[in-house]
Amino acid sequence: MLDLSAVRCQIDSMVADQAEVGNVTYEERVEAALAQLKRWNEDWATLDERLAQSHTPWQTPRIFQGPLAQGIAPPARPERLSVAATDGSQIFPDRHEVSPCFLLNIGYVLLHYGTDDRPLLSSRPTLYWRDEDLFPQWGGRRTAVNRELVGFRRSLLELTELAELAAASQAAGHPTVALTDGTLVFWGLDARPPDFRAASLAALCSAFDLLQSRGVPIAGYISRPGSPELVNALRVGLCPMDEAAECERCPWLGQVPPCAPVEGVSDAVLFRRVLNPGERSAVFENRSRVLQDYGAHQVFFFYVHAGDEVGRVEIPRYVAQDKDLLELVHGTIVDQAAKGRGYPVSLAEAHERAVVRGTDREGFYRHLEEVFVRHDIDARVSRKSLRKRTVGV
């Protein structure tokens, strides 16, 4: 049990500490960031140049399309539109349970607007129990599968299935937009072995290829984004160094640097000041390292005021570069968020379809036990698991 009261004081210190970096309050930082944003509003190309040249320890984007400090109104949603969305959930492998297998559950949602076609709301679970799944061999090594790997597989599966779903929908005659929850950028792939990375990216890119070839836009929606990428870009903008910021050679080490005033503000907070409900920001390009392997499908992003919050929308290049597709994504997300009372309804439904609840999990393992027993397989459950299940007084 967590003793919340014991942690509370520590949390207070932490917050105070963060809020007072450079002796400036949070609100002042936001104002400063806003001012900077406005400064580069028109002249964003210059900033973009600078960004291209700079080397900072914190991540910065490129600016694809301005203006920076103005919101762009959403277009009207087209008469006929279908929104495809997937989400995933899992039952992680648990060596305390009767079997070390794991399960991925993908939820599918296909909502049609402007017709009276019935929506598709379903889910498909897949059980992984074979040797090659439980003990995958990557990078020449065979390891027991862990939560991280399962997570990867799940995220990947969400995307590939989304692509199939959207493509099938388009083929059936519905103008479709594909939405997914979360980022399109698989950060963790970085640390993975090369063959793993290659396999994953191949799958990913084939998904994007497919959608691009069908003219179906795909977007990832991130709720409550905490990224400070753009604020980082403004820091670069503040840096007085010539041509580009080189933090390795920062002359203000040990002091409060000129880029400090905006530090600590997140993009979302910033754009909250700029965007009206429904409006989107400029489009930026993500420069995560892993994206180098994404080939043609670089990931771009923008922020959008979804009604209750500012969310972050990530799109592949083919969407960013196509004005119609970009608008379509913008309009769809705003409409979806309005329907979903602040969060895109299709994603919420997909989540509901996918989620594996505690009771589901319990039922799954109980059934496994029964089947094992029936087939005389040794159904031994570790004591820890048993303790977890029925805790006496």
Partner: protein, 237 residues
């Protein structure tokens, strides 16, 4: 399904999950039309000797309160009356909330809502058919889950309601809105009778049923007279 190269060749049907509920539009319409042609109005989802719960084939289209229905199960036709219809979310954790829009608007804007709602109705079992005549006993076996529920045609209603035994069954059951249900079933029972030979047949039937009620409610004249007066007021409706 493994993650790997996407093919882009799958059909929408392939995304349907195990119970086949959610199907592409064209298929859905075809299935719906087929089901409509069979005349079935629901499918049993819970069953006991005395009652069963069925899910209505179409949302918001449960049979009328007090209507007579037939369940084909195990080679036998069970007969019962509908007494409780409700529409609820089919997901245990999710409840409908107000949107402030008309149904037409919701169907356009939030089509997924209607997938998550289902209409159920409860049926109190009165007995079963044996060679076209009604046996007023609980059936030996309860209806099987997933049996289909059909509305009873007029001739069947006449046969079932000819013997006033069904009134006794309704009165003795617990957990039913008994008086309301009695009146509703009688109204349904009257339909077939009023059309033929005019008023007298219906009138005679009511007197006969009323007399049975009088016997059953011998100790509760207040309730009897209230019921009979309500029946009398139908004549003015």
């Amino acid at each position: 399904m493994t993650e790997g190269e996407v093919t882009g060749t799958r059909s929408l049907e392939s995304f349907v999950d195990g119970d086949g509920r959610f199907v592409p539009h064209s298929r859905a319409q075809e299935i719906d039309a087929n089901a409509a042609a069979t005349g079935r109005v629901g499918e049993v989802v819970e069953s006991s000797t005395t009652t069963l719960i069925a899910e209505a084939r179409r949302l918001h289209h449960a049979p009328d309160f007090g209507a007579f229905v037939r369940v084909e199960s195990d080679g036998r036709d069970l007969i019962g009356v509908v007494h409780n219809a409700s529409t609820q979310s089919s997901e245990p954790n999710r409840r409908p909330m107000a949107y402030g829009k008309t149904e037409a608007e919701l169907r356009a804007e939030q089509p997924q809502i209607f997938e998550l709602l289902r209409t159920q109705f409860e049926v109190f079992v009165l007995g079963y058919l044996h060679d076209d005549s009604m046996v007023h006993l609980f059936p030996p076996q309860p209806a099987r889950i997933h049996s289909f529920v059909f509305p009873c045609p007029v001739e069947q209603v006449l046969a079932v309601t000819e013997d006033p035994q069904f009134l006794r069954s309704l009165l003795e059951a617990t957990g039913l809105p008994t008086d309301e249900l009695l009146l509703a079933t009688l109204r349904h029972a009257l339909k077939g009778r009023a059309d033929e030979a005019g008023e007298t047949k219906a009138g005679q039937y009511l007197v006969r049923m009323g007399a049975e009620l009088s016997r059953l409610l011998r100790d509760d004249y207040d309730r009897l007279s209230s019921l009979v007066r309500r029946i009398t007021s139908w004549g003015q409706v």
